[in-house]
Symmetry: C2
Subunit: 602 residues, 2 copies
């Protein structure tokens, strides 16, 4: 009696009128109505297909069931790879979860507050912000780790969290790629010295490769500038795509990529450029040296390279961006006797020795006042430049979306926040740090963008909200014995993946519409169950093949030998207008094994 | 070769110098140094034992690895019970995740903004708050569900999320029980009518019972006032404890509990109370009726009961809290001819017909102006009152900590936010709602409070961060073969719970200290592995027994028959000063089975 009752309950569980996440899918979404060639806006697709809900206030969104499942899968991949050790000498890794509120006083110490780009928290009407919503957690983690890193014995340590971060943007672009609230994995590492920290940087680089490989979408890791966060070694992870806001320079020979801001290259046409030559005037910080920067008018000046060429921090960066006249006026005003002041000429290496330089703008000067630094690279790399890494390949430029970034921080945060440990020699030393981010919501948005087509979304199986959907004709509910078989299928799933199975047994929706919905939502495999073909199940493959190991498995085992599995392979029949899908017909008893084989490639 | 290499890597994984969460446990924490009788402050315990880090700014905290694991376990229990259906006609449940930022404009519509108790978000220096940090999500969810609940066919629906919520408190008490940021599960249900919504209320009541039973700690569900959230049926979930800020009235006969604000009872000594009689004067909203509330001076007036007795919303609640003189002045000022105004006397049912009533304070009045309502209950229930549910038991009062609350909301949010559906009859109807909360961080804090003792924390196995810890003498690292055996033990754990195993193989910590740390951190079972007893493992039971099924298993199977398992039962040897622990000696091959048996009870 008891077991019968249990069965009855389970059966009703699967066969009830529930629609689960289908509730959130726009019933009027029709792939046929969309423009061909991927004309759907990705945010609209994610909205229509039940992944996100965009608040009328731009820059904020809610995760609907399918979207939440997808970011959870992305998070699980990250977590698994961070927690698993890849070699014996690895550093200990702990997951924590910090408050999203942080006192501004902490940020004042590291010079990151006041800050236009953070949300501050006020009690209604209270003007003095004591708290902010964290955009990233270097300050908080540095403060938090203090009691736990008192001795060299406590080092190294890595902690990470997956949590919401906040960024105040005046004009937030809507959607998931750049919102005011976003999901981020941020890890922080703590070390006795730079050598150890850089070893950790390399270890995290390997882990990031495993993580991004698990997402299945080709990515580019590029050397980058550290920017606001600070430190002096940093690498970014990008997806190449025309909607991206970043620019990468990639060598067509060795493949090494750099963010354009960081890219070093051997200029093409060194010493050959004649005109027009541009000059930008600037000053040193004391205001007593006038610096003339000469470079080809066809190139863009890179202030970072200018500083490097000038050799030091002494250059007043503000004056680079001032109009030349203002700089010259300032120079004349601050130096009463111009003849005693010094002048430096920086000559970009692209210029020809006999280039026509612009006239010197001041009337009083002596040529003995001049120092000339030539043969230096003062401009951003350009397409066609020779790669500095391999010395043979040429650079091309690609637009990209940044989804991850790892940094060596050094003591940028540990020094102002006084994070010190007692060394073996009983001395107080400043802890060296690294930090490592991945934007989960950006990964979701980017992969949606990169994989969508004119049917809808198309997820890699590793991050798909469900790997398999089961659809039935509406009249399935008249067929109790088949319902019971479906239940049985679900419960006897030995591979422990039935959580990843989405059932669509709705009564009021046609089979065709159910299949279309599954494909549009990007579920990699759609299983069609009906009385006609039972005990065979028809599989339609929506996911893209990232590898082709299934064919081997099919030849070895599927071809009548081990599994009862008929494949129509790529010679698939037409499903909807102009669309073909790879199809397989699989006996119910072989379903689990065949799904496992197919999913490996998707 | 390949498998050998894999083994080598795994072995180094477990035997490396990692300390994981032990890093965050205060090495100087010593249970012996603490006061006996549970004198440890719970927040200090959680801090010292690596569960939380309290920010210097009161009311904010970070979760350390052990704390994060514990709230995740609590969340998993909630999630599992919400997702699993308990009967065939159940409502569909979806998990979502809403933004923690919400536009204030939405809250103005429901009358919950401006609000002193929420954090508002300003761009630095900007005075007009456009956003707030959500303390709860009725507004947002109601707005979000609009496009998905257009027809009666889309109803009912339940959505829930587990996320951070925020509350601005001027003087936040530190610690985990009442912080400015807290973790909450909030569910919301949507229905065609009240009957359906109340059915859902009852279903959620059943689910809450399953959830709280899974936490293993005795709880009380109590009828409650709906308060700010609104609606008219609500039940709270409490843990009884003296530090609690709530007061429950519980019947010693039928056990039904109510929050003191909601508790109805039959007063003891009805019609017998003589003096002193108190009177509180108040007015109706129009100001033309003077109401005198007469009640025993030994009781506390309950404004809600007064309103009910007076019969309606017409009573001006503000005047109840004014001093009598001010009310009388106001009455005289607003009614030029007192003889035309009306007066009402409310007489509490406890008063004796011949009680000495205070003199009437106005000089001009006619007794024909008076209306008297007597035999009404105007005061909060008191200890000893007769329970209104069973009519025989008497009430006792208990202090308690509220950890959950479920509400029937009706149209409190759907009406102002215009959440309507098209009914079967093609009419526009307002959706009826319910909401259902559990405070995850409060559950963590309350259970820590309720279960701690003079050794430290003591978790039920269902929410313990790890169910089992493995400790070794420091010299284990000289014994490669034993290390390999430990690795083998871990990898051959068939019960899929090895994620719940915490290894403490540290070199620089004594075995005794490791055992003490495991017990203080509240891990239910500590397994001691050493060369001396190997292949037997010594188990010390730290967890409390909530049931005793293990004894049966031990008698049936353990006693030399199925498992090689020597139990020292309750006659345990002394571990540290004055403490005894139940101990078992188990053969390594039986470890998994025996742990499974023991953990069921803990």
């Amino acid at each position: 009696m008891r077991s019968l009752k249990t069965t009855a309950i389970k059966l009703s569980y699967i066969s009830s009128k529930r629609s689960y996440c289908h509730q959130f899918i726009n019933p009027n979404f029709d792939s046929k109505a969309t423009k061909s060639g991927g004309g759907n806006n990705t945010n609209d697709l994610l909205t229509n297909l039940g992944y996100i809900y965009q608040l009328p206030t731009a820059g904020l969104l809610h995760y609907l069931p399918l979207g939440l499942r997808t970011v959870k899968k992305i998070g699980d991949i990250i977590r698994k790879n961070l927690n698993n050790s890849i070699d014996a000498n690895e550093f200990p890794v702990n997951e924590v979860s910090l408050s999203s509120i942080s006192p501004t006083s902490l940020w004042v110490k590291t010079g990151r507050y006041p800050n236009d780009e953070v949300f501050t928290l006020n009690k209604n009407g209270d003007k003095n912000a004591k708290f902010l919503l964290v955009p990233t957690c270097e300050e908080e983690i540095t403060a938090m780790m203090k009691p736990y890193l008192k001795s060299y014995k406590n080092l190294p340590q890595i902690v990470y969290q997956i949590s919401r971060k906040y960024r105040y943007e005046k004009r937030p672009r809507g959607g998931i790629l750049r919102g005011r609230e976003f999901l981020m994995k941020d890890a922080y590492s703590f070390h006795v010295n730079e050598r150890d920290a850089l070893k950790c940087f390399d270890m995290m680089k390997s882990k990031y490769d495993l993580i991004f490989q698990a997402f299945k979408i080709p990515y580019v890791s590029a050397w980058a500038d550290s920017g606001e966060i600070g430190g002096d070694r940093s690498m970014e992870y990008h997806y190449l795509h025309e909607i991206g806001e970043d620019k990468l320079m990639i060598c067509d020979e060795c493949g090494i990529a750099s963010n354009i801001e960081k890219c070093q290259s051997t200029p093409v046409g060194k010493g050959q450029f004649k005109d027009p030559v541009e000059v930008t005037w600037c000053l040193n910080k004391e205001g007593d040296t006038l610096i003339g920067i000469y470079y080809p008018g066809t190139h863009e000046l890179d202030p970072r390279r200018v500083v490097e060429a000038y050799g030091g921090e002494d250059l007043d960066l503000d004056t680079i961006n001032m109009p030349n006249e203002k700089v010259l006026l300032k120079y004349q005003r601050e130096n009463e006797d111009i003849m005693l002041a010094s002048m430096v000429r920086l000559m970009d290496c692209r210029l020809h020795p006999r280039s026509n330089l612009p006239d010197f703008p001041l009337s009083k000067y002596s040529k003995f006042q001049f120092v000339t630094i030539d043969e230096v690279d003062l401009c951003f790399s350009k397409v066609g430049d020779v790669c500095e890494h391999c010395g043979t390949g040429h650079l091309r430029m690609e637009k990209s979306i940044e989804v991850g970034h790892i940094f060596y921080l050094g003591d940028k945060y540990s020094k102002p926040l006084d994070l010190k440990y007692v060394s073996k020699d009983n001395a107080q030393e400043v802890v060296k740090m690294g930090c490592y981010g991945i934007g989960l919501s950006r990964v979701l948005g980017s992969i949606a963008e990169l994989t969508k087509d004119d049917i809808g979304l198309r997820w890699p199986s590793t991050i798909a909200p469900y790997t398999v959907s089961f659809v039935t004709p509406p009249n399935i509910h008249d067929d109790t014995s088949l319902l019971r078989e479906i239940e049985h299928l679900k419960n006897n799933n030995s591979t422990n993946t039935s959580d990843d199975w989405l059932f669509d047994l709705r009564k009021d929706i046609s089979l065709g519409k159910k299949i279309n919905t599954s494909h549009a939502a990007g579920i990699p495999i759609c299983c069609i169950i009906g009385r006609k073909s039972w005990p065979y199940i028809e599989l339609e493959i929506r996911g893209k093949r990232y590898s082709n190991t299934w064919e081997k498995a099919y030849e070895m085992e599927g071809n009548g030998s081990k599994f009862d599995w008929v494949s129509k392979g790529e010679k698939a029949s037409t499903n909807s207008k102009n669309r073909t899908f790879e199809k397989h017909l699989v006996h119910k008893d072989d379903l689990n094994s065949v799904l496992a084989i197919l999913l490996k490639d998707l």
